[in-house]
């Protein structure tokens, strides 16, 4: 059994191999590229299943304590820094979700992206991406996690800006990268502090009670180290999981192809932030309340406000984007209130139904584009819900699947979202202890419950606008449901949206109560001893309230919008009042605020720095130095020409020529003259000699 775990490092390898093969070899052949990518993820899925099976069979030992494979990697003086792989119940649960959802999305994408000129490149990028995600899930330490975090960030940038001919796509890619970068810097700072305080980045080693205690008692900047590090790490999660205030990149990221939105911005990458917080939860919890309450607060704000924005958006993908942001907020609420299982349960279910919804929206958009082609209208936006309508008749399978996803998202029993969302709200209520206005947990519960209403409302709105009623434009009139590869994955995901909730029904429910996931994955932080990991019984009152709210919102939304006519004003305007509606439509003007307060000043500063460089200081100095050098060398050249050449070289030649001219007259050709010279010289020599000896 243990040997099966040694397959774990292989899980990320196959998509990486697919990436390399596509890039180096198969990039001209579209079908082969898609095939390689799908094969890569499928093999990973199979290996993941083997590992999950091994985890199931190993029981408590692995599920809670985990199996690990440390790899000594970087010698650091007298010690060695390890990276490595680990599997426990939580990892196994993630390994169930990630490869399965990714495989379905890859299959979907192989039809969705058909006709694109960079088809093969797309599959290379997504293969690299899923390599990153799988590595993140099986990593046993923060460094390897961070590396895969960054790989995913890169792929996100590449994929958002995949259609880089569009200016909006380019900008969106850059926005995503830079915004998450802020989070990444915070995360890295947290890692640095953590390493300097404890000398390790491996999860199991950090969560030793002794180490946790040390982190709780030593301080950084006056605060307990554990709190500071946790908040920095949470900063990374805020960026990656698009929480307020770093949420601004996710709606713009919808510029990327829809499979990208489904995979990266619904199912996997954005959930990496939640995964990180969940993994590091003991660190958050070791100093009670301090760090965790911020998680809950940010999560609550995000959950509620993102939902309200979604209410006023017309683009089908934008609605889903804000919905994702909002649901991630719910997960943060769950984790922030110490509800480890609540958070990760919602993470798992959300990935399934959000991927489903995005892929469904992709099918709708494809259908609309088909209709546009048919009608010859290429100006109408195929993504605008106001241009859709009546698609239920034309896209039956897609409609059924989409409905399943919507009901799951709205949290209507027995769909998955009900169980996971309810768990979070129950945790919040339990911690708040009822109507306790002074408790963060209460406000979280309130935000979550109101948010649930709004969520159901905007999803009802979406169903009403898109699928029900009559077609409002030629596009939707002539929409055609896409082929098998795009429809069947939806149905598979829909199935999971329906049944996944039953993986963790609280135990007090008769017949189906099992608390299975709680036992399997929810106890991994047991050894740290700082979390309350008890499973809560189902609170029937709350559950009933939640269901009522959800149903009201959902049917209310449908009712409002199923009869919507083309050109009519949005009914929301009347209900909310124009000012509020405009505020929501413009996303609370957060982007504009950032532009004015941060981005423009930074650009101005950059301009200033550029001026400093080019015009005022650096360049003039460089030019001056250059000119001086030139001038010196000119002088030196002149000197060389006049003195060295003229005087020295030529002068010497002239001198010798003159000497020769004058001396030639001594060669008379007459021997007697020569003899006389000899006589003269001898005379002088003798004279000198005699003079020398004192004569």
């Amino acid at each position: 059994m243990e040997q099966l775990f040694s397959l774990t490092p292989l899980i990320p390898v196959f998509p990486l191999l697919a990436f390399a093969l596509i890039v180096l070899w198969a990039n001209k052949n579209n079908r082969l590229s898609a095939g390689l990518a799908i094969a890569g993820i499928a093999i990973s899925a199979v290996i993941s299943w083997v590992v999950i099976f091994a985890t199931l069979a190993s029981g408590h030992h692995v599920q809670v304590e985990g199996w690990s494979l440390p790899v000594p990697w970087l010698p650091t003086g007298t010690t060695v820094f390890n990276i490595g792989f680990a599997v426990d119940g939580f990892t196994a649960a993630m390994l169930f979700m990630v490869p399965l959802v990714s495989t379905l999305i890859f299959i979907y994408a192989s039809e969705y992206m058909e006709g694109d000129s960079r088809y093969a490149r797309f599959f290379a990028y997504v293969s690299l991406f899923v390599f990153g995600m799988l590595t993140l899930v099986v990593a046993d330490n923060l460094l390897l996690l961070f590396i895969s975090w960054e790989i995913m960030g890169l792929c996100s940038y590449l994929l958002i800006g995949f259609w880089f001919e569009k200016d909006s796509a380019k900008k969106a890619g850059l926005k995503a990268f830079l915004t998450t970068r802020i989070g990444d810097v915070l995360l890295f700072a947290g890692m640095l502090f953590l390493y300097s305080k404890t000398g390790t980045l491996t999860f199991r080693e950090i969560f030793e009670p002794a180490v946790l205690h040390q982190l709780a008692t030593t301080t950084i900047w006056g605060q307990p180290a554990a709190v500071v590090i946790s908040l920095l790490v949470f900063g990374g999660a805020v960026g990656k999981s698009a929480q307020f205030p770093l949420h601004v990149w996710l709606p713009d990221a919808m510029e990327g192809p829809t499979p990208v939105s489904a995979m990266i911005h619904a199912a996997t990458m954005v959930s990496a932030g939640v995964y990180l917080v969940a993994r590091m939860l003991p660190l958050f919890a070791v100093v009670p309340v301090a760090a965790l309450q911020w998680v809950a607060i940010i999560g609550s704000i995000t959950a509620f406000f993102a939902a309200t924005i979604g209410l006023a958006q017309n683009d089908i993908k934008r609605v889903l984007a804000y919905s994702t942001i909002s649901q991630l907020g719910y997960m943060m609420i769950g984790l922030g209130l110490g509800g480890f299982l609540a958070g990760i349960f919602h993470l798992l279910t959300h990935s399934f139904f959000k991927a489903l919804l995005f892929l469904g929206s992709g099918s709708v958009i494809h259908a609309m584009e088909h209709g546009a082609h048919h009608v010859g209208d290429h100006h109408t936006d195929p993504q605008d819900m106001m241009n859709m309508g009546g698609l239920a008749q034309r896209m039956k399978k897609t409609y059924i699947a989409y409905m399943a996803g919507t009901l799951a998202l709205a949290g209507i029993v027995p769909f998955a979202g009900f169980f996971s969302k309810d768990e979070i709200l129950a945790d919040a209520w339990h911690q708040a202890g009822g109507f306790n206005f002074g408790s963060v947990a209460f406000w979280a519960w309130l935000a979550g419950t109101l948010g649930a209403f709004v969520t159901a409302l905007y999803m009802g709105r979406q169903i009403g606008l898109v699928f029900l009623g009559k077609p409002r434009t030629g596009l939707s009139e002539h929409a055609v449901e896409p082929g098998k590869r795009m429809t069947y994955p939806l149905l598979v995901l829909g199935f999971f949206a329906l049944v996944l909730g039953f993986a963790n029904v609280p135990e007090n429910v008769p017949l189906i109560g099992n608390g299975w996931l709680h036992h399997f994955a929810g106890m991994v932080h047991e050894s740290a001893g700082v979390l309350d990991l008890e499973a809560l019984p189902l609170n029937w009152g709350l559950a009933g309230l939640a269901t009522v709210i959800a149903l009201t919102g959902f049917f209310g939304g449908i009712a409002l919008y199923r009869g919507h006519q083309a050109g009519q004003e949005d009914p929301m305007v009347k209900i909310l009042g124009r000012p509020l509606f405009t505020l929501l439509k413009n996303k609370y003007y957060v982007d504009e605020f950032y532009f004015a307060v941060i981005i423009n000043p930074v650009i101005k500063l950059a301009d200033l720095a550029a001026k400093f460089d080019y015009d005022w200081v650096i360049n003039p100095i460089v030019n001056f130095v250059g000119n001086t050098g030139r001038w010196i060398s000119d002088i030196s050249a002149e000197f060389d020409r006049v003195v060295v050449d003229g005087l020295g070289v030529l002068g010497t030649a002239r001198f010798f020529r003159w000497m020769g001219k004058e001396l030639r007259y001594t060669q008379t050709g007459q021997a007697q003259n020569y003899l006389l010279v000899i006589a003269l010289v001898s005379l002088s020599l003798v004279g000198v000699y005699l003079f020398g000896i004192g004569f």
């Binding site: 006589a679 003798v686 004569f695």
Partner: protein, 170 residues
Amino acid sequence: MAEQIIFFIFTLIVLGGGLGIVFTKNLYYSALFLSLTLSGMAGYFVLLNAGFLAAVQVVVYVGAIAILILFAIMLSRRMMTSTEPQSNRQTWLAAIVSPLLFIALLVLVLQINWPVSTAAPASDYLLLLGMNFLGSYVIPFEVVSVLLLVALVGAIVLARDTSTDTGREG
């Protein structure tokens, strides 16, 4: 005493002859004065106990070389009777340099203490000469003989009358 007188007489002959050579305008007379000088030299050699050398001097120098010069003069007849001044352009400079050189050399040589020996001259110097010529100095002796042969042949070749050559191999 007697020697000094003899020495003095011979000096007169030698140096007088020398001066005569220089200051005579007639080349023939110069050659004759040369013979006189050379004969005086023979006398010197006798005074210096080198009788054989005296005989050689007379036979070779006077008897051959001086005669040869006379013949050469006679063969270039026109010169014999010319009355042009025999001095050339550098006469004045030579006239200054020569006495100076004489004085300088004299001073140079006379201030050295030559290691004079008071031994008696060899009585059998002829025997010694013979033994040296064919003993220690045999190689120069033989070489000189070759040299004389070369000079003989060379002189004949150089001085022959090429105008009478008929172009045949001679």
